[in-house]
């Protein structure tokens, strides 16, 4: 068989089920790639020995009637994994070894997969370039010195470099879709509540959502099917019937209505993004969809509202890091308060501090109404814009990001220009609705660009079907010359 690591997840599953290849062979091939790809810094922890043990165990007694039989999968280091260090990209959790397993990873393992390693990410998922990780920058395999996006940057980099057959990330303001767009991969943020948040290190609880990151739309359907379950341990988990996203995937989109929101045509939008968007419209039209112009009036207020809501929730969530119950503790300080202050000063990086301070400020006495309440009102308006639009269209097409991947260091000193990366992705988080990024074109540097489809709550199947139609017709191809290998 040709190089198994270049195959899609669905192809690997098929090969294992057809006994064309063993789990041990698959796992060994990915481990070999991981060992040669240290330069990318995609992994915080590798679990090669455990993975090989699990693969051999699987092969001894192959149970093939599951979704992911014998498949090794690396996950973002924000998912708690029992007995395996979970850092959230922070010094604060450098030695944190969870005594329990997150629901999402547990779901993957009960479908036959096992852990291959823990992937680098921005500290507490706060960042859009993976540069805020305590464990260093991740390199985008598309070009040296280029960021993979963030916060699920290690996940995106590992996926496109064939270091894992598929992966999972989390998306609070674009942290799955933006890195997917920057690496030429598929990334889905599901409806808020579809995938359990239990056991995921919290950032902003009303926005956080886990989702699949994959090489193909078909793989994305397969992963989502394995991930999405009702979980009574998450009070916001949606109780609904399990869906067969994988089996029901089809690219027949005749008669489907696609909305094009004029507000996403932002000032100074690069020509290449315009062309990408036009091309996306054409592809969908050719596939039988109807294109409709729509308006999402409050789009320009989404990012400012996000930078109130997300830091506010983060400042509350991160109050738990006190140097007492778990995590880092400073040795400096003569009393309890000083110990807290030094622990949090030494344990958190700059971006996390910035967001905690913004959040603490907007929630502090006398400012709540002016900021947090205002932002929640704006959030309501943004949600109503979507609700109104979805009366007339089935899904909305936009670019995923305002640019392709940028250089390491290029935006590091300017928080606002970094935040603007998420301008197209944040609205779906604020409204709690699903959105997917599909690689759809390239810019003049030959860097990948993604198109985003936004859908109605719990309408993931339709989004995946439309995404498949784009994937089949866009002609997007990427073959990387493994320049980073030693």
């Amino acid at each position: 068989m040709t190089d198994i690591t270049k195959k899609s997840l669905a192809q690997i599953v098929k090969a294992i089920k057809g006994k064309e290849i063993s789990s041990t062979e698959v796992t060994a091939a990915f481990i070999k790639n991981i060992e040669k790809s240290k330069k990318l810094n995609a992994f915080i922890t590798t679990c090669s020995d455990e993975a090989m043990k699990n693969a051999k165990e699987f092969d001894k007694n192959q149970k093939l009637d599951s979704l992911l039989p014998g498949v090794p999968i690396a996950v973002k280091d924000l998912f708690c994994t029992k007995s395996i260090k979970t850092t959230a990209g922070s010094k604060m959790l450098e030695n944190f070894i969870p005594t329990y397993e997150s629901t999402i990873t547990k779901n993957l393992w009960s479908e036959g997969a096992f852990l291959l390693g823990k992937l680098n990410c921005d500290e507490y998922a706060m960042g859009s370039s993976n540069e805020t990780s305590f464990y260093g920058n991740v390199i985008n395999p598309i070009a040296d010195q280029t960021v993979p996006g963030g916060s699920s940057g290690g996940s995106a980099s590992a996926l496109v470099a064939d270091l894992t057959p598929a992966t999972i990330g989390t998306d609070t303001g674009g942290s799955i879709r933006q890195p997917a767009s920057f690496t030429g991969t598929v990334g889905l943020k599901p409806t808020y509540g579809l995938c359990s948040r239990w056991g995921i290190v919290a950032f902003a609880s009303s926005l956080d959502q886990a989702g699949p990151m994959t090489k193909t739309v078909e793989d994305c359907a397969l992963m989502l099917e394995a991930m999405a379950t009702f979980d009574k341990k998450d009070s916001t988990s949606i109780k609904k019937k399990k869906e067969n996203y994988f089996k029901n995937l089809k690219d027949d989109i005749k008669g489907i209505k696609i909305g094009i929101p004029k507000e996403y045509r932002v000032d100074n939008m690069p020509k290449e993004i315009e062309i990408l968007w036009e091309n996306g419209k054409k592809i969908l039209k050719d596939a039988g969809a109807k294109i409709v112009d729509i308006s999402l009036n409050h789009t320009k207020y989404a990012l400012p509202a996000y930078y109130i809501v997300a830091p506010a929730e983060a400042s509350s969530n991160l109050a738990r890091y006190d140097g007492i119950k778990y995590g880092y503790r400073s040795s400096k300080g003569s009393n309890l308060i000083e110990m807290y202050e030094n622990t949090r000063s030494e344990g958190f990086g700059d971006e996390v501090k910035r967001r905690i301070l913004i959040g603490t400020y907007v929630l502090s006495s006398g400012y709540y109404d002016a900021y947090y309440l205002k932002a929640q009102k704006v959030r309501k308006l943004i949600k109503e814009d979507f609700d109104e639009s979805f009366k007339n269209v089935d899904a909305i097409l936009t670019p995923s990001t305002p640019s392709s991947a940028f250089k390491i260091g290029e935006k590091k000193d300017d928080p606002i220009s970094m935040y603007l990366n998420d301008i197209f992705t944040v609205p779906a988080n604020l409204a709690g609705i699903p959105a997917i990024s599909i690689p759809s074109g390239k810019d003049k540097k030959d860097f990948p660009l993604g198109l985003q489809l936004i859908g109605k709550p719990l309408d993931e199947q339709k989004l995946l079907n439309i995404a498949l139609a784009i994937e089949k017709r866009s002609g997007f191809k990427q073959s990387l010359k493994r320049w980073w290998e030693n």
């Binding site: 329990y100 808020y192 109130i308 205002k374 704006v378 606002i416 709550p457």
Partner: protein
């Protein structure tokens, strides 16, 4: 709203994060530009708008109040940076 150094110091105190002078300066600068960006919201009249309280269409569930775990003291203490067999250990809080 302008952000000055005193405000940053006050908020850092509330957030229990110690900052040196240099960090206070750079955070003052960063937060000033971030708040300028955030305050774009002020141009929008939201007087009669109900704030969003839940993103879900259904109300939050409550669960029955029953014990379904427990006896996991060792697990809870396991990751503590300073502990003995029974307790978390903190710096002295009473003289």
């Amino acid at each position: 709203m302008s952000i000055d150094k005193d405000k940053i110091k006050h908020v850092a105190k509330l957030a229990r994060i110690s900052l040196d002078e240099k960090k206070t300066d750079s955070l003052t600068k960063d937060l000033s530009s971030i708040f300028k960006f955030i305050e774009k919201l002020n141009e929008l009249n939201t007087k009669n708008i109900e704030p969003l309280t839940s993103i879900l269409n259904e109300p939050l569930r409550s669960r029955t109040d029953e014990i379904n775990d427990g006896k996991i003291k060792d697990q809870i203490l396991e990751n503590s940076p300073k502990k003995n067999e029974e307790f978390f250990i903190v710096p002295k809080v009473v003289d």
